[in-house]
């Protein structure tokens, strides 16, 4: 299995996992909307994989020196 196929499969599985959890929450009368949106957004990303550069040459992001 190629790297690209593995990535597409992984992203699809994560999307389906989120949709499944959203469904479980809704069926139990809880708010499943955030997870459903994440699942729906991830599905097209599986298709986009391999169509964009995987590593950028952006400069390192400096952040403030407190906490985690």
């Amino acid at each position: 299995m190629s790297q690209l196929t593995r990535q597409r499969l992984f992203i699809s599985l994560v999307a389906l996992l989120n949709l499944f959890l959203a469904a479980v929450l809704v069926l139990n009368h809880h708010d499943g909307l955030p997870l459903a949106v994440i699942g729906i957004v991830l599905l097209p990303l599986a298709w986009l994989t391999g169509r964009q550069p995987s590593v950028s040459a952006l400069p390192l992001t400096e952040t403030d020196n407190h906490a985690a």
Binding site: Q7, L17, L21, P34, A46
Partner: protein, 315 residues
């Protein structure tokens, strides 16, 4: 539908960031708010430690440290074999996901307080303990046993990072100040929610900056940034259940497992693995995992905790 006010400040920051609204938010104010939150969490935990210190906490602490060491070992193969990342970058990102985010923890505490769910008040001790093991494991994953963990500069960055020092300081002050803590508690305890709200407004703005970087860094990291908190949060919840913690405690350990460091670990990795691309780690941990946990993860971990404790997940 009722949403938590503190979380809505984060959403407001996100919206402002997406709309490119320039909200004046001085870096020094952001640093001051962070300092306040770390001290407040430390003080509260220290006071609780002084009241509840016993052998059971030592056993729990050892298991929590082991948990922090295992998480990078789970993340690393995913990043290597599915993400196709090189060894250095996979190890650096794995280290971020083994460590914790104090901001995510603070939001979880606010949500639990608002919901009236009690939790073990000594949890800040676990926050501090979970900062370090993942950095060491990440370094071992990147360089093997010749990692040179005894490196003085790395030890300084890891053990004496400002976040850890301030929080440990708060823990010690809280533990040893006794009744005199009441002198400062109106400032640190009662203003906590308001300060956290302001802090999250800024975090929303920062998150949108990181999302921009993720557009170029690939869909895999986006999926990883969502999957890892679900996996680690579940494991954290199961561990806490095994340790006999309360519903609130299970939720908090799930949150600690699910969260990813975005300041303490990057500082250590800059010293230990300077060749690692920090943008990848930051985009995943701050651009994806932090908002995921705040908006979707924390309520989910609370439901998991209630389900594990047998209260079911029906609303």
């Amino acid at each position: 539908m009722q949403l938590d006010a503190v979380v809505l400040f984060f959403v407001a920051g996100l919206i402002a960031g997406v709309l490119k609204v320039r909200i004046p938010f001085p870096t020094s104010l952001y640093q001051s708010l962070t300092l306040f939150l770390l001290l407040a969490i430390g003080l509260k935990g220290g006071a609780a430690l002084a009241e509840h210190a016993d052998a059971r906490i030592i056993v729990q602490s050892l298991l929590v440290i082991s948990f922090g060491a295992v998480l990078p070992l789970l993340a690393f193969p995913l990043l290597r074999h599915i993400g196709g990342l090189d060894r250095t970058n996979a190890a650096a990102i794995a280290a971020h996901y083994g460590s914790v985010s104090v901001a995510t923890y603070a939001v979880a505490v606010a949500v639990l307080d608002a919901s009236g769910v009690s939790y073990e008040a000594y949890f800040p001790l676990f926050v501090v303990l979970l900062e370090i093991p993942a950095i060491i494991v990440g370094l071992l994953l990147a360089k093997g046993l010749s990692a040179g963990i005894a490196n003085r500069e790395l030890a300084h960055e890891t053990l004496l990072s400002p976040g850890i020092v301030v929080m440990v300081g708060g823990l010690l002050i809280g533990a040893f100040s006794g009744d005199t803590l009441t002198k400062v508690s109106p400032f640190f305890m009662e203003l906590f929610q308001g300060v956290l709200a302001l802090f999250l407004l800024k975090m929303g703005l920062i998150t949108t900056e990181q999302l921009g970087a993720l557009k170029q860094d690939g869909p895999f990291l986006a999926a990883f940034g969502v999957f890892m908190p679900l996996l680690a949060g579940t494991l954290g919840g199961l561990l806490a259940h095994g340790l006999g913690l309360s519903v609130g405690g299970i939720t908090l350990l799930a949150v600690l497992g699910a969260s990813a460091s975005y300041i303490a670990v990057p500082a250590a990795m800059r010293v230990a693995l300077p060749q690692a691309n920090a943008t990848l780690s930051m985009a995943a941990s701050l651009g994806i995992t932090f908002p995921f946990n705040v908006l979707a993860g924390i309520p989910l971990y609370l439901l998991l905790a209630q389900w594990l404790q047998g209260s079911g997940i029906s609303g």
